[in-house]
Symmetry: C2
Subunit: 372 residues, 2 copies
């Protein structure tokens, strides 16, 4: 688990807070299947699967965890065992959906884990025909957006881990290798750096750098090409890393260096704008303005960032229209980009946590183009 | 991509077959978000995300792919570009759910990707209030269960890769190390063996081996203990590996060796029973009978297996009550287990493909206890 303990990250008191928030929201129950919502509430890192594992948190009354019998020992060994909720094991030939419905009784409105699979949400719908389904995210976002000191420590730990991977990228990235070969070395380094999973390895060389979510191809990297490397994974704590740096095999083209300097200023401006009380969209605007003023506005084709925690992408989103006010503990990416289709592109990404007075970046590697 | 090409794995003709199956099933459209269903139909390995990517396959009329603008280049470079379907990009501030509804028009019944997140299924429900939601799996299972020769080749490739990882486990597994330390080495080896992702690393030492889905703990492995190692990942092709072997640090306890021999006979009996025309449940029964006859019936607490392909767990399930008849191309795990709570456990798992006359195992490492 690294520097942060499971007890600190997933305090036992959280379940009561979630139950209160459920009651306040007018929902009768939350239904949480494996994924980030369940992990946030219980600390239980259950694998999403066709067999139903589901924590039911009624607005009043006792929560219970429906769990396949063969998962019972794993659940009992997980942090969920500290919560004092009843574990209800079901057998291979039982109908656990019906059992959830019967136990909850007459409920009118339930909140489903945002990532619940249709395979399960539709079966719960059929088992509880009187219950309107909505998203648990509406209840949990208020809690999940405000990271505790332990969660911030876990994000710092993830940031430090991915920084060490970026430090190794010059060893992997050579002209004549394919993006896929480089990506495989990066994936191994992500695990070696202490991540539990590799979530994405974007290696966008030359024109592929102009596609923000390009992943890996068999394209051979050429001398003189800029390469966008955007990588991340989840630590054993569950908390995610995500950082982008730009590399160049030799000196970059002159036009590239010019717009990279604009991008660097934009990313700096957005990070410097972070403080409690500003809107999420104003952080986006701080980056966008610098890029637009330099004439590259049409080439910055995505929002400035996304929240991060137990998910790589979660609330708050740093995007036009999001008037939510920053608070201490909000954690998100600041990752403006400039993309020239058919030519090349650039993006600089750090994870930033809003503190009491200003933002703190958890990624600390230099933000200049790394010349290889 | 290894030995198997994307063109062979995801033939262009598949979309028409899916559209015909959709029409036959009485659905008006399939709605496929990123995940195994979308990948099966298009070859597009899009990352599941909060931004909507959705292939709409109407029972009649033109399919289209709703795609975030920043994902458009990735989609255009993916195998989905071969299909001749319209790509409909949406901007960061658009409502893509409404757009899907408007484009499809009046539909009464839609099939959602089995793993579609509630975040998306509920928004599609609200955008298309007249459309009853059901699972796309009902349409796709008939196709996905019957693996093509290219898919079987991809499963063989995945099987060979995980076999090389098992061959290295004796280098990692030592008394005095924790399960987590061993698991980290295995995860690195899974990537080094050519997998694109690590999906699970179960290292169940001593009593933890009695919990079938135990993953990793900080428990220190002791001399004389049996250790259940169940590991798998997805290859760049998308096809998954999954294999379990048992290791022992020194000679196993005498009672352990006795029930391991029963387990080995049960796993062999189930594999030998595989052929076209037998029911899925009869393969489960073939393993269960051997274990029950030896008096361990109460300690085999799960089904014998699950289908495998683009998902680690998919149809067909090898479980009591599944009367589906085996056909050539069905691919699934055969993994009986015996678990003595508080003491130790054992499981032997191979992936088996039903051929024209008999089953073919894609995992070929020896099935004896590996003494370290």
């Amino acid at each position: 688990m690294g520097l942060v303990t499971s007890e600190d990250l997933f305090p036992v008191s959280r379940l009561a807070a979630v139950q209160e928030a459920t009651a306040r929201s007018g929902l009768d129950a939350l239904l949480l299947t494996p994924g980030p919502d369940l992990r946030y509430v219980t600390g239980y890192d259950a694998m999403p699967m066709e067999r139903l594992t589901c924590l039911a948190v009624p607005a009043s009354g006792e929560p219970f965890l429906m769990v396949p019998r063969l998962e019972l020992p794993a659940a009992e060994h997980s942090p969920a065992s500290r919560l004092g909720v009843e574990f209800v094991p079901w057998e291979e030939t039982d109908d656990p959906y019906a059992q959830v419905g019967i136990r909850l009784g007459a409920v009118r409105k339930v909140g489903l884990a945002d990532r619940m699979w249709a395979m399960q949400s539709l079966r719960l719908r059929d088992a509880m025909p009187g219950a309107e389904q909505t998203l648990a995210g509406g209840v949990l976002r208020e809690l999940r957006m405000r990271k505790s000191p332990a969660e911030v420590a876990a994000l710092r730990e993830a940031g430090a881990a991915i920084d060490t991977v970026h430090a190794q990228v010059p060893n992997f990235l050579k002209a004549g290798r394919t993006e896929r070969e480089v990506g495989k070395d990066i994936a191994e380094a992500i695990i070696a750096a202490g991540h539990a999973t590799v979530d994405f390895t974007i290696v966008g060389s030359g024109p592929n750098g102009a596609s923000p979510h390009h992943e890996l191809s068999d394209r051979i990297i050429q001398p003189g090409e800029p390469v966008v490397v955007d990588i991340g994974g989840a630590m054993p704590s569950g908390y995610c890393s995500d950082s982008t740096r730009v590399y160049c095999i030799g000196e970059p083209p002159a036009d590239y260096a010019a717009y990279y300097a604009v991008l660097q200023a934009a990313q700096q401006a957005a990070c410097a704008h972070v403080r409690p009380g500003v809107t999420c969209e104003s952080i986006d605007a701080a980056a966008r303005e610098v890029i637009a003023d330099a004439g590259y506005g049409d080439y910055f084709i995505h929002r400035t960032g996304h929240g991060i925690g137990l998910e790589t992408h979660e609330e708050p989103y740093i995007v036009t229209g999001n008037t939510e006010l920053m608070e201490p503990g909000f954690a998100f990416s600041v990752e403006p980009g400039i993309y020239l289709p058919g030519m090349h592109g650039a993006r600089i990404e750090d994870i930033v946590v809003c503190g009491e007075a200003e933002g703190e970046r958890v990624n600390l590697s230099a933000r200049d183009i790394v010349i290889i």
